[in-house]
């Protein structure tokens, strides 16, 4: 009996809930940690990035107006579907990062658990970050965190799944929409995640995943007037990070700087959940 010839996949972008190729028609070769050929990933262009922002703006409207309970259920659903694809993620992460089986399993398990952790945050951030304010006057006064809007993010370059999830989770748990550029050299776990997202009731456009070169796309996203914030987690080039921050200033974007020496297994704390929320304070008089 001969070995079966396997059916291989074309790796595409994930924009607006669909899987387009790059409009530029370009791809780039992805190799494993061992240098062997893995795939031809789509090489997204600046036009793809702009299309993703349009999709994200639409996704933001749907996602931010969903109830926190609903967002929590949808994100938990993502974790459920990830769990079902655990073996695939382990294999992807192993190939991408050159890890031992057990180390890859640890990465994937932590990534799924991290996603569950953030799923549970959706209906708690308002209470933890918000407040009723005892003002010195006859007013009821309260503050609530609201999502900043559309976030453009660069996923960590090394940690292809756990790092990605650790960046994406807090952005979407707080109600934002995101355009994320996957690890350039290790994009396949992100592409697998996009297939999970497509089957998890996440409204189209809430999470958009691009593969390619951040050097090429990020300047356009940093200066894009319909992007509200940047997460530069995976930008290791200091000159690029600086120029992106400078571009971001033109529209007063919120910028979370690059993460150096991040330990993605560590307790993330609240700082990422706090990064892309706006505090809204509402005053109303008391009286009869």
């Amino acid at each position: 009996m001969t070995d079966r010839v396997d059916v291989r996949k074309t790796f595409k972008l994930f924009v607006g809930g669909a899987f387009p190729r790059s409009e530029s028609g370009r791809t780039y070769e992805v190799t494993g940690a061992d240098g062997g050929f893995l795939a031809n990933a789509a090489k997204a262009s600046r036009k793809d990035a702009r299309d993703a922002v349009i999709a994200a703006r639409k996704g933001f409207a749907a996602w931010s107006s969903a109830t926190a309970y609903n967002r929590g259920q949808v994100l938990y659903r993502v974790a459920e579907v990830m769990e079902g694809r655990r073996a695939q993620f382990v294999s992807d992460v192993r190939d991408a990062e050159g890890l031992s089986k057990s180390a890859a399993v640890a990465q994937v398990d932590a990534a799924i658990d991290r996603w569950v952790w953030y799923a549970g945050w959706t209906d708690k951030v308002t209470q933890v970050l918000g407040s009723a304010n005892p003002v010195a006057g006859p007013y009821f006064d309260f503050s609530v965190p609201e999502p900043t809007g559309v976030v453009a993010a660069v996923a960590p370059q090394d940690s292809s799944l756990l790092g990605l999830v650790s960046v994406l989770g807090p952005i979407v748990a707080t109600g934002n929409a995101v355009v994320v550029i996957a690890s350039t050299d290790r994009p396949i776990p992100a592409i697998t995640l996009s297939e999970v997202l497509a089957t998890s009731d996440v409204p189209g456009g809430t999470i958009n995943i691009l593969t390619g070169d951040p050097n090429e796309m990020m300047p356009w996203l940093a200066s894009h007037a319909d992007v509200n914030a940047l997460d530069l987690a995976g930008v290791s080039d200091a000159a690029l990070a600086t120029s992106l921050e400078q571009e971001a200033a033109d529209t007063v974007k919120r910028v979370r700087r690059a993460t150096t020496d991040a330990d993605w297994f560590a307790d993330p704390g609240l700082s990422r959940l706090r990064a892309f929320v706006e505090t809204k304070t509402v005053w109303h008089p008391l009286g009869v």
Binding site: N133, S143, V252
Partner: protein, 479 residues
Amino acid sequence: MAFEYAPAPESRSVVTIASSYGLFINGEFVDAKSGTMFKTINPATEEVLADISDAGAEDVDRAVAAARKAYTGAWGSMSGRDRSKYLFRIARLIQERSRELAVLETLDNGKPIRESRDVDIPLVAGHFFYHAGWADKLDYAGYGANPRSLGVAAQVIPWNFPLLMLAWKIAPALACGNTVVLKPAETTPLTALAFAEICQQADLPPGVVNILTGAGDTGRLLVEHPGVDKVAFTGSTEVGKAIQRAIAGTSKSLTLELGGKAANIVFDDAPLDEAVEGIVNGIFFNQGHVCCAGSRLLLQESIAEEAMEALKRRLGTLRLGDPLDKNTDIGAINSAEQLARIHALADSGDEEGAERWSPPCELPDTGFWFAPTVFTGVTQAHRIAREEIFGPVLSVLTFRTPEEAIEKANNTPYGLSAGVWTEKGSRILWMADRLRAGVVWGNTFNRFDPTSPFGGYKESGFGREGGRQGLGAYLKEQS
């Protein structure tokens, strides 16, 4: 109908202004190494109040070094409990000297004494009181156990609420264990210098608070100084963007509180008299020199005519004149430069086809003045509906449905504040949910409190001042 009022000026005798002031560095007033001085004037009379030092590069170096020394020394190693007691001392000293500070603020800024006395200075004391209590409770503020201070904070503040903006900056910074170098606005340095004396009276360790007077160049030198860990700025969106650009690539953290173009939305069921008071307070408070001013009035079409009549009637009773007079509603514009800016934008309203109206209003011969002004027939494309005027100029637009009101209110790059006037509680909350603004006032406007976080969405900046949320601007979370 105008009533005759006898003049009721507040006495200037509580204030002693020196002929010239040095910089406040390391607990002492020192001459500027730059050797240059500028004058601060009373904008209501153009009388010179004092000569002020213009801090240069060497002075910025000295002040940052003093702040660093205090941070690595006395202040940095002090317990939260003791920091707290210093802040309580400062709060008490402000209360004790409140009348003096109010008069000084009005002299240097031009705002009515009624406002500096009843709003600005009480809030300043309140801010120090509130934050004093936080200094030894930071573990419980929601930033993880044992959150750390950031270091030396460079703080640059505007001229519209000089001492209040100082309090918003210095109180949380000190409570969280930072030291500061603060630059007040060039046209309103006097209360910051009085605050320096208060720091001396409180025996605050030298270098914890440093005050550098100067103009834009001093501010730029300060925020770009490599010895600074944190930059906090309140002022124009233009300068805020320049600062954000300047600190790109550094490890400095940044909070910005910038401009606004707030919508004040009046529905047809709103109690009209109250709404008119709110509209007036929204745009004419502090001569409209308020970043969160309700400068775009959105009237529901069905009541637009009636509301405009009531508004015009009310504006006819506003009293413009001597800021020290206790009956004055509208004081002086802070500077000739700002007055020119207001004129230019108001003129653009005429040119673009909006209709200008002002009540009969006599302007004093000296000083800088602008009559309360209302533009009707304003479209969303007009400059007076898009750009921050920062003066007593109101642009009136209309809407039909709540959805249209939201659409128009949010149609701006700014997002600092908004107001909603309606009898329906559910509508206020529905609107508040959809307005992309950091502060929403329902059936009120321009309320501030130390416990209540204040700050913007979008190009109105980021970070909050006040409340538990405001501490985040001066703390590093420990996980």
